[in-house]
């Protein structure tokens, strides 16, 4: 191999660095989740990550590929998935979810999996474990590690709003994370901190989060389900998975578009789908499911807009120049 192009960017780091950055961004979210929901939440996350890593190793062994623990992508996948689950789920749910995320990803080609396998696992869990996914506990009332919930004991702000009322907490409390919901979705502040870190480290770009949240905000603002528009807007945005999905969905590189215009379309469409699911889905927080649906078309979007390259805005001029050169020959 006569390849003389050996220089690589030393300061940009490797895949492990990329994934480590994501883990670092997730840690504040995780910590708040534990503060709000107790050690059970931590256990859910650990189980999901461990199952994801183990399943990835197993599948790669079966498919006879090299082992790649070191790149942490399975652990990241497990963490993100677990953070979208309620803290009170039975332990088989994160185990299944983590395993599914890894298996789906590896079966469809590893890094080249054409959709977001974490979001896919989330959607499957909603189908398979539907009741358990809907039971939430109130924040700061820690469920013991061995405990479980078998009925609806607490309504998340999203569910309250879907019923037409307003949740009891005020805006600031919701922002900080006292509203309740899935482990990672309660605290907007820490998610935003994580997002800023990822932007700084150039793991993600601003396009998807901004278009996702922006589209959702605009649509919700135009069709408020409640008289108090700003309060309504705030609750819808700050709780539930919109901010979390907008930021951490983009981390799964295979299911995210690459070119800028496809990213914006991806974000806008996700926002639209989420809002539709909330209005017509009976209080179902559809953010992560929206991500799954859009991730299926991420690669086709890229190919569709691939003609927008160097020289595309000068197409006519360049064609005219070429014709002139041909004529002069």
């Amino acid at each position: 191999m006569n390849n003389g192009r050996f220089l690589t960017a030393r300061e940009l780091g490797s895949t492990t660095t990329l994934m480590l950055d994501v883990v670092v961004a997730l840690i504040p979210v995780l910590i708040w989740g534990v503060v709000a929901f107790g050690l059970r939440a931590l256990l859910v996350v650990l189980i999901a990550s461990a199952c994801a890593a183990a399943s990835e190793a197993l599948i790669r062994l079966i498919l006879r590929k090299k082992q790649r623990f070191i790149d942490l992508s399975a652990i990241v996948s497990g963490m993100i998935l677990a953070l979208t689950l309620p803290a009170s789920v039975p332990y088989w749910v994160p185990a299944l979810g983590g395993a599914l995320a890894s298996v789906l990803k590896q079966v469809f080609g590893g890094g080249r999996c054409p959709f977001n396998s974490t979001a896919a696992a989330h959607v499957v869990l909603h189908i398979v474990a539907a009741p358990a996914m809907g039971y939430f506990t109130a924040p700061f009332e820690w469920l013991p590690i061995g405990g479980s919930v078998s009925a609806q004991t607490f309504k998340t702000p999203i569910e309250i709003i879907a019923d037409g009322a307003m949740p009891s907490q005020n805006a600031l409390e919701l922002l900080l994370g006292k509203g309740g919901g899935a482990i990672g979705e309660v605290s907007a502040v820490f998610i935003i901190l994580g997002a800023l870190y990822l932007l700084y480290r150039r793991v993600i770009t601003w396009h998807i989060p901004v278009t996702f949240i922006g589209t959702a905000a605009i649509l919700l603002g135009f069709f408020p389900q409640s008289v108090d528009v700003t309060g309504y807007l705030f609750v819808e945005l700050m709780t539930g998975g919109i901010i979390f999905s907008a930021v951490f969905a983009a981390v799964d590189f295979g299911g995210t578009p690459i070119s800028v215009i496809s990213k914006m379309i991806f974000g806008a469409a996700c926002g639209l789908l989420t809002v539709l699911m909330r209005f017509y889905g009976g209080g179902y927080d559809g953010a992560f499911a929206a991500v799954f649906v859009m991730s299926l078309v991420a690669r086709p979007l890229d190919v569709l807009f691939s003609y927008l390259r160097f020289g595309s805005s000068y197409k006519k001029k360049n064609a005219a120049l070429l014709a002139k050169l041909e004529a002069d020959k």
Binding site: N3, L7, T8, G13, G311
Partner: protein
């Protein structure tokens, strides 16, 4: 009178780019490649004369008429071979005697004939090397182009400068001189601008007369201010040279990106900058043109930058054309162990040198001596960094995936032909995949195939 109005107007002018030096020219995308070069700050050095030089005396499918025989004495700058079409001339770069005739294979595997001359180290110039007798203002453009053709002066990419001048004469939109350094180990443009500034400026003036242009745009990089100052000093008060600073981004010396940075015009494949009326030269070209007129010497020197993380002696060298790689490596301390790799190119573009006895035939070269290149590569994780670094705004990882599977029609649709092979994509890849190498290979394998064929693409889909 530092009243508030003056200050506001001053700030307004600065912001609007009213002061040319403050405007940073750049293009979209690209990668930031820091400079690891140690040789940049050391003036151009000579090395002890090589014992022999080897010069090519044939080109693609064409044998030249050789004017000397084995054992003949030759002088520096003497014509030793001529192309049958009367367009190409080969000159001896040293004085000595003809030792032998041989042949060699180039990187692509094509063989070419060579002449080996043993060097007596005196560099006695031939009698035909006389300075140009007329003043520049009395010389017509055609005379300049003729002389350039006769002395076989080439651009850095190997094209004959006379062809370019002829095509662009009286038709040039802009004449551009690049002194920006590009890539991690680039030194030649920088050093030539500092060590031979007068030659560069005078050579540029000659080319300007041949083209019939009234000014030169000199592009230098953010970190090349010393080179720009040196050239500005040599240019003196002349308003023939406008100095424009380019942002620190790779690959800023590529012709299409220079045009995009200067005017915003983007040229797509297969147009070149020359097609659109932009003539782009480097300092070395100007020096060769000046030497042709001032001393009557053809292009006989080669400027080689030696650098790399496994190199012990980093310098910009001036050697006679035809010196072998081995001679240069030996003069630079040799290779520290068997596993170090010698690359022709700065680590972002280029090939590994396997034949150390091969001669330098291009007037500028970069040798990078580096630690062994690991063959291990990872899997594409679709992070998209390559796409955000590609200055042609392509998606390298998709093109690479299609090339690997042999789906060339699909790769062409995604822009395979637009690739300028700069290497920015593989530079930023976190998995260290040889993206640029794979894309270059597939480009060259399929450059003769007709483009975009619908049936072919459907066949590939199955």
């Amino acid at each position: 009178m530092y009243n508030i109005n003056c200050i506001i107007i001053f700030i307004y002018c600065c912001v609007c780019g009213g002061f040319p030096m403050s405007k940073l020219y750049t293009f979209r995308r690209g990668a930031v490649v820091p400079s690891y070069s140690v040789a940049r700050d050391i003036p151009i050095t000579d090395i002890a004369s090589p014992n022999t030089v080897e010069l090519p005396i044939s080109a693609e499918h064409e044998k030249f008429t050789v004017l000397v025989n084995g054992g003949d004495a030759v002088l520096c700058g003497q014509l030793i071979a001529e192309g049958r079409d009367g367009q190409t001339f080969v000159y001896s770069s040293v004085s000595g005697s003809v030792k032998a005739f041989s042949s060699r294979k180039d990187i692509a595997g094509n063989s070419f004939d060579t002449i080996i001359i043993s060097n007596d180290g005196k560099y006695t110039p031939a009698q035909t090397c006389v300075p140009h007798s007329k003043k520049l203002s009395e010389t017509t453009p055609d005379e300049i182009i003729d002389k350039v053709r006769h002395f076989s002066i080439r651009t850095d990419s190997g094209e004959a400068l006379s062809d370019i001048l002829k095509r662009a004469s009286q038709n040039t939109r802009r004449f551009i001189l690049i002194t920006a350094s590009d890539g991690a180990y680039s030194t030649i443009n920088y050093r030539l601008s500092i060590d031979k500034a007068n030659d560069v400026i005078n050579g540029a003036k000659i080319i300007m007369r041949a083209l019939g242009v009234a000014d030169t745009d000199v592009f230098f990089g953010e970190d090349d201010t010393e080179a720009a100052n040196s050239l500005a000093e040599a240019a003196g008060d002349s308003n023939l040279f406008s100095f424009r600073m380019m942002k620190m981004k790779y690959p800023r010396t590529h012709e299409k990106l220079i045009v995009a940075a200067l005017t915003g015009r983007e040229l797509s494949h297969p147009l070149t900058a020359l097609d659109a009326g932009y003539v782009i030269v480097t300092p070395r070209v100007c020096i060769d043109v000046f030497a042709a007129f001032a001393k009557g010497l053809p292009s006989i020197n080669c400027y080689v930058g030696v650098d790399g993380d496994a190199s012990t002696y980093q310098r910009t060298l001036c050697v006679p054309l035809g010196t072998s790689y081995r001679r240069i490596i030996d003069a630079c301390g040799g290779l520290s162990d068997d596993k170090t790799v010698v690359c022709a190119g700065g680590g972002l573009i280029g090939d590994v040198i396997t034949d150390m006895d091969a001669p330098f035939v291009m007037p500028t070269a970069e040798i990078t001596i580096s630690k062994p290149i690991s063959d291990e590569c990872g899997e594409c994780i679709n992070c998209g960094r390559c796409a955000s670094a590609c200055p042609m705004r392509l998606m390298p990882m998709l093109i690479m995936a299609h090339s690997k599977k042999g789906k060339y029609a699909k790769a062409k649709r995604l822009g395979l032909d637009e690739c300028i092979e700069c290497g920015a994509c593989s530079f930023v890849c976190p998995e260290k995949l040889p993206i640029s190498f794979i894309i270059s290979e597939s480009k060259h394998v399929h450059k003769d195939e007709p483009s975009l064929n619908e049936e072919k693409m459907e066949a590939e889909d199955e």
